[in-house]
Symmetry: C2
Subunit: 201 residues, 2 copies
DNA sequence: GTCATAAACATACACTCTGCATGCATCTAA
DNA sequence: TTAGATGCATGCAGAGTGTATGTTTATGAC
């Protein structure tokens, strides 16, 4: 019986190796960015060789994409978990926003998902990743609030995009150390302003 | 008298070469991104060798930075030129936003300034570039509108950041072919909502 | 259990790219 | 006109990516 080579199934070996590589890659991507991280550096940190990396991922962007998918899934799960079952659309929207900001406070996440991700994978590919993990939450929330009369009947797609841009910027600024209270208050004011908007006749 | 080597001053030579290199680099950066553009490709397109490139720029990021500074300067100039002299703060804000979106409609500009720029140069370096070319316009406009009572007394820094994130996202979506009218209406609604906000007492 | 096959992983190689060092051509200034 | 500086080209060393090939470990039929 080998101590440093216990018999493991291939499925287990694969899962463990992928996790080791992704963990090592994540910390380097966060510290030095996608372009600043070399595949030798990743495998050194994981304690393996580049053969393992290129066996499990077709190229360097693939492991970056895998890391981002994991992050996006965790963010989506956090938002979903924070959804209050029977709340009105406005409270649901604010709860989702709060959960999003909390989830994005995990160190490195803003850089991965909001800075390096769009540049390295492209904006469309990144949207696809987020869509795969239930990013339609915000669009759904906006539409529900509009159906409810809480939000004005603006184009839902445009309104959702602008609101999400706002939340993403808030996440970035918060990760840069800006005061959370300022951003919470401002974001709420913007949403409140929309909900109280007197319709031009 | 040489036909293909007319006598030119060094200053002129430098200016022309820098412009040729930056033009070639810009089109490639727009088409393939910063990471996807090689220095051999840049100098091939410019019809020179890498010696010229590395004589005028210390490294690849330097020419990228130079291209972005030129773009940022043009955007800032366009916004400044559209500033109505005696308008009220709200109209000035909307005019500036409109000018910003028009300036960002120049092909490739959104990718350069909003996608590849932050990833390749870092968010702080990019902020510095924009600050050098009078990006304080928005912050000033917001503060003026707040002093005027048009915008509520929220933290100016946070409000400015969120509004600018909104405009940047609008510019990106418009360059992806989304309908301008939708975004214009939505952005105006958000600002209008803020200006009409009933203060919580 | 054993053996053929496939999967997991390591090693070696070819290619490209970046940045610098060196050398030639052109301009500047006395 | 000529010494020195500047503009630009050429050549080279180091690093990185992706692939081809080799070696080890697991799987499944018998």
């Amino acid at each position: 019986m080998q101590v440093d080579s216990p018999r493991r199934s291939n499925d287990l070996r694969t899962a463990e190796m992928r996790a080791r590589l992704m963990d090592a890659a994540r910390s380097l991507f966060v510290a030095h960015g996608f372009a600043g991280t070399s595949t030798p550096a990743i495998v050194d940190r994981a304690g393996v060789t580049r053969g393992a990396l290129y066996h499990h991922f077709p190229d360097k962007t693939a492991i970056f994409r895998a890391v981002l998918e994991r992050e996006a899934a965790e963010v989506a799960a956090a938002i979903l978990a924070a959804d209050p079952p029977g709340a009105n659309p406005l409270d649901a929207l604010l709860a989702g926003a709060s959960a999003y900001l909390a989830a994005m406070a995990v160190p490195g996440r803003t850089r991965l998902l909001l800075v390096d991700g769009p540049a390295a994978l492209g904006r469309v590919a990144l949207r696809q990743i987020e869509a795969q993990h239930g990013d339609a939450t915000l669009l759904g929330g906006v539409k529900a609030a509009q159906a409810d009369g809480t939000l004005p009947p603006l184009p839902a797609q445009a309104l959702t995009s602008l609101l999400s841009a706002m939340f993403e910027r808030a996440a970035l600024d918060l990760s840069d150390g800006h005061p959370p209270a300022d951003y919470l208050a401002t974001a709420k004011a913007i949403i409140l302003g929309l909900s109280q908007l007197r319709q031009p006749h």
